[in-house]
């Protein structure tokens, strides 16, 4: 249907969700269902001397208490694997249930299964675990110090990996001859994803069939099935069905394969009953993979004209107690490779040390490596603007990759396919009324009052649409990064799409129906979109890395194109024309130059299934499957501007304005795209101002609940001002790039740059996130 692409069609997902009829995992109940509660370590590091479950087992309604012994007795692999390998990566064992040593608060030591969830919780409290507490280290820098407690015996010095990209020598040379240099020591604060639906699983083992159906909170059911069967439960892959029903947000946290889901699967196998487990918020905060947690030294060299000549980055990145699914990739290939930002930088070197700590594992969280890289680059650019005297706008402009330089090969492996950075900056300046704001700032500074304003920029790049399989494979991925789409045109010309992209709030069903409707010239209402079920969808890599439109959507487009090609052959036969002479437009096959000789999609679809009057060399049916493997990442970019007011007497910060100009390529549904940006902005602003996963020295998670971990609330935030430029992606059939992570990638630097800008008269050039009033006040008063 014409005009369906680029239109804000209301979401088809919503009617169920606004009436309470959407079914999330915990909403599901099946006959005979029991409930699990997991017993977790209260210590960051301890030896388990013994477990006495007798008091729990004695409680009426308790069905079983399982420990590591039961995992061993079951004869299953029983581990949680890592899915991305780096050279010389240390991969210590991660048992589903800790056998003799616990390595973070929340590590599972036993599981109780009972007839109802209240009894299961009561019983979990009665499992007596005899711990011998050991010294722990939670801080990523302290973990590298001599004599730090070892997280794993087979990872000396707590080093998981030592990785670098770029050329150290050319960077050293750039610094040796630099006219200006700026440098920074910064922390990128550890974050807890906080999908508002806690992780949950309902595992239903069928001993007769030897099969299991697992409903769970998953962003990628097929990946979960693979890891669950191969490494944890040892069941044949074809005997396990994983279904992701409604999923209440993920932001990365529901990509990873966790011990808990496998433990519940084991419980169901042992008891031959359906077993459900739903994490409490505390549990999900202790076990969902956290994000970020870097300590970084970085520096930028510039020539006398303010052009960048070199960038040096040295980062220590926390892995937590075990290597989570894609953890090693996040601070390396999704971080070091982004260090060129939007800039033409002739020499870059980035060195990263991955470090084990006695904390919850760290893995991909919205943006995954790219927010950390953007924060490094854009904080340095702010300082470069100050040091060179060029200011934040001119220093960026002067270093932007020129629009005629694309494709642009960076010094850190990535080749940007397209870009045009100036117009996004221009538009952002226009929206924000930049000159007036600077006048206002100058006048407030002149008046010397306690309320100063600051203006902060972030001109970000991201690599998303993950990713060419051969490329990620050569970098250590133990998975491909294509996506599948099976598009079936029914005899009545309605369509069902089976996609491997599994939605968890993004609105795939709406967006994907628009892609099909546009390409096939039909009403989006005639398109059904099926996802999130390994029995229905043949394989899928899932939803993460802003890949669903660019990779999953492209797979759908490819399948539709194949259907049109086949339809042309059928129509040519029926119209007694040559297939080469046929065109497809607005739902009809037409003979070029003879507009009266045409057949509708419905006529052709019906014939495809009747096959009564049909080409000899063609199979019946009208469906097509594609496995789309992109040829490159996509490279969304934009410029964000944040305006804050800082109370220099109390240290409190008020957001005044936030303008974002993003270029995410072609837009399928503007309403959904804007919504993705809003959500990403809230999370990035949250990181900058409030959010912080804090561990004390003994490894206790101090901010483990919503009482202490400050997820942004509605009164903390403001309405956002958004606009777009459009530079289509040149290498996928839709020209789309991806938008899920842009807000979270760009905004931390914009906010911090704004606050630092406000405090420039105090000689402050950096404050670590989150910028709490206390930290700001201390900086002003030091």
């Amino acid at each position: 249907m014409a005009g369906v692409l680029g239109t804000s069609i209301k979401r088809r997902e919503d009617p169920a969700l606004i009436t309470g009829r959407g079914k999330y995992t915990d909403d599901l109940n099946v006959p005979g269902m029991a409930h699990a509660a997991i017993v977790r370590s209260p210590y960051a590091h301890a030896r388990i001397r013994g477990i006495d479950a007798s008091a729990a087992e004695a409680l009426p309604g308790v069905l079983a208490v399982l420990t590591a012994r039961d995992v061993a007795a079951a004869g299953i692999p029983g581990v949680v694997p890592v899915g991305w390998l780096l050279p010389d990566l240390k991969t210590p064992a991660h048992p589903m249930i800790a056998a003799d040593t616990v390595r973070h608060v929340g590590d599972a030591v036993a599981v109780v299964v009972a007839e109802d969830r209240y009894i299961a919780r009561d019983a979990a409290d009665r499992v007596a675990v005899d711990y011998e507490p050991l010294d722990a280290v939670a801080d990523v820098v302290a973990a590298l110090e001599d004599g730090a407690p070892a997280v794993h015996e087979d990872a000396p010095g707590n080093v998981a990996f030592d990785w670098e990209i770029g050329e150290r020598e050319s960077v050293d040379a750039a610094f040796a001859s630099a006219a200006h240099t700026v440098q920074l020591d910064l922390r990128n604060n550890r974050l807890i994803p906080h999908a508002i639906e806690p992780r949950a699983v309902l595992a239903s083992y069928d001993s007769n069939a030897g099969s299991m159906t697992i409903h769970m909170t998953s962003q990628n059911p097929h990946v979960h099935r693979l890891l669950m069967t191969l490494a944890s439960l040892g069941m044949p892959e074809h005997k396990v069905r994983i279904v992701a029903p409604e999923v209440g947000g993920g932001f990365g946290s529901k990509i990873h394969h966790y011990a808990d889901e496998a433990i519940v699967g084991l419980c169901s196998m042992k008891l031959d009953r359906p077993v459900k487990w739903t994490a409490t918020r505390t549990e999900t905060n202790l076990t969902d993979a956290h994000g970020r947690d870097h300590s970084t030294h970085c520096a930028l060299a510039l020539d006398a004209d303010g052009r960048i000549t070199g960038l040096r980055v040295d980062t220590t990145a926390a892995m937590g107690a075990y290597l989570s699914t894609f953890a090693p990739a996040v601070p390396t290939y999704l971080y070091g490779t982004l260090m060129s930002g939007q800039y033409d930088i002739p020499a870059i070197h980035c060195h990263v040390t991955g470090v084990f700590t006695h904390t919850t594992p760290v893995d991909a969280y919205r943006g995954a490596g790219r927010p950390e890289a953007t924060y490094v680059v854009e904080r340095l650019m702010h300082l470069a603007g100050e040091t060179t005297g060029l200011g934040p706008v001119e220093v960026r402009r002067r270093n932007f990759v020129s629009p005629d330089a694309f494709p642009y090969q960076t010094q850190v492996a990535l080749a940007y396919d397209s870009g045009n950075y100036g117009p996004a900056m221009d538009r952002a300046l226009e929206m924000i009324g930049y000159d007036d704001l600077r006048s206002e700032q100058a006048s407030r500074r002149g008046n010397g009052g306690g309320r100063q304003i600051g203006i902060g920029f972030s001109s970000y790049i991201e690599a998303c649409g993950l990713a060419p399989s051969a490329v990620v494979g050569s970098l250590g991925a133990q998975a491909g990064q294509w996506e599948s789409a099976d598009v079936r045109v029914h005899p009545t010309a309605s369509v069902t799409v089976y996609t491997g992209s599994s939605s968890h709030g993004q609105g795939h069903e709406t967006t994907f129906s628009q892609i099909v409707a546009d390409r096939l010239g039909i009403d989006p209402e005639a398109v059904e979109v099926i996802h999130g079920d390994t029995d229905l969808v043949q394989f899928g890599m899932g939803t993460y890395g802003s890949r669903s439109a660019a990779v999953g959507g492209s797979a759908i487009a490819r399948s539709v194109d194949k259907i049109i090609e086949k339809g042309k052959k059928i129509a040519a036969h029926l119209l007694e024309a040559s297939a080469e002479d046929l065109e497809y437009e607005d739902g009809s096959f037409r003979v070029a130059g003879s507009p009266d000789r045409s057949l509708g999609l419905g006529d052709v679809a019906l014939q495809a299934y009747l096959a009564h009057n049909y080409p000899d060399d063609l199979e019946p049916g009208l469906s097509a499957t594609s496995f789309y493997d992109p040829s490159n990442f996509t490279y969304p970019f934009g410029t964000h501007v944040c305006v804050v007011e800082v109370d220099t007497e109390t240290g409190s910060i008020e957001l005044l304005r936030y303008a974002a100009v993003d270029d995410v390529g072609n837009v399928i549904n503007p309403m959904i795209v804007d919504g993705q940006l809003h959500g990403g902005l809230a999370q990035g602003i949250g990181q900058a101002l409030w959010e912080n996963a804090v561990y004390d020295e003994s490894g206790q998670l101090v901010s483990g609940s919503l009482m202490d971990y400050a997820v942004p609330k509605i009164h903390n935030l403001i309405s956002f001002e958004l606009d777009r430029t459009t530079t289509p992606c040149p290498h996928n059939p839709l020209g789309v790039k991806g938008v899920g992570e842009a807000g979270a990638i760009a905004s931390p630097a914009a906010v911090v740059n704004a606050v630092v800008d406000a405090l420039a008269p105090f000689g402050i050039d950096h404050i670590d996130m989150p910028l709490t009033p206390e930290k700001v006040w201390r900086a002003v008063n030091s």
């Binding site: 606004i18 309470g20 999330y24 508002i196 947000g249 809230a682 609940s705 509605i714």
Partner: protein, 155 residues
């Protein structure tokens, strides 16, 4: 041990015998099958479990089912009348006020309470009125728009 309770849920009388410690949210979700009220935390902070109890927005994870004896409870399932969406439900759909939808029932019921107290709230009053409900997806921008849409429709 159980206690007997009688209450009205979405306009229908309900009688039950519940464990004294049973939370209202578990009673609604598991005993009555009204799974629209969701559980997102255990500290009464996220608001996903918000329902109306005698017209007041209440976090049903912080109230015992036994305390609802004699009360009139409205859950998200009871908000649409005669097959017509409530203006707030329309507003959230129209203005893209939800993504994953997990916080949405609670958000809509809190907004419903807000609009009974203030029929024409401005942005700041909407933000103040909904600060007991956390949404991790939308950045709240469109939730404010959705509530304004509903207020306009209802006036």
């Amino acid at each position: 041990m159980t206690v007997s309770i009688q209450l009205e849920v979405n306009g229908k009388p309900v009688q039950a015998a519940v464990e004294p410690r049973r939370l209202l949210v578990h009673f609604l979700r598991e005993d009555l099958g009204l799974t629209g009220a969701n559980i997102g935390c255990e500290t009464s902070l996220c608001g996903a479990c918000t329902v109306l109890v005698d017209g007041n927005a209440v976090k049903s994870c912080t109230m015992l089912a036994a305390q609802a004896d004699g009360a009139s409870v409205t859950t998200i399932e009871g908000l649409a009348q005669n097959g017509e969406l409530h203006p707030l439900q329309e507003g959230f759909w129209e203005k893209h006020g939800l993504q994953c939808g997990y916080c949405t029932p609670g958000m809509i019921l809190s907004a419903n309470y807000l609009l009974t107290q203030n029929q024409n709230p401005n942005d700041e009053e909407i933000r103040e009125g909904l600060k007991g409900n956390i949404c991790r997806c939308t950045g709240y921008h469109n939730i404010v728009e959705a509530v304004k849409y509903a207020a306009e429709r209802m006036s």
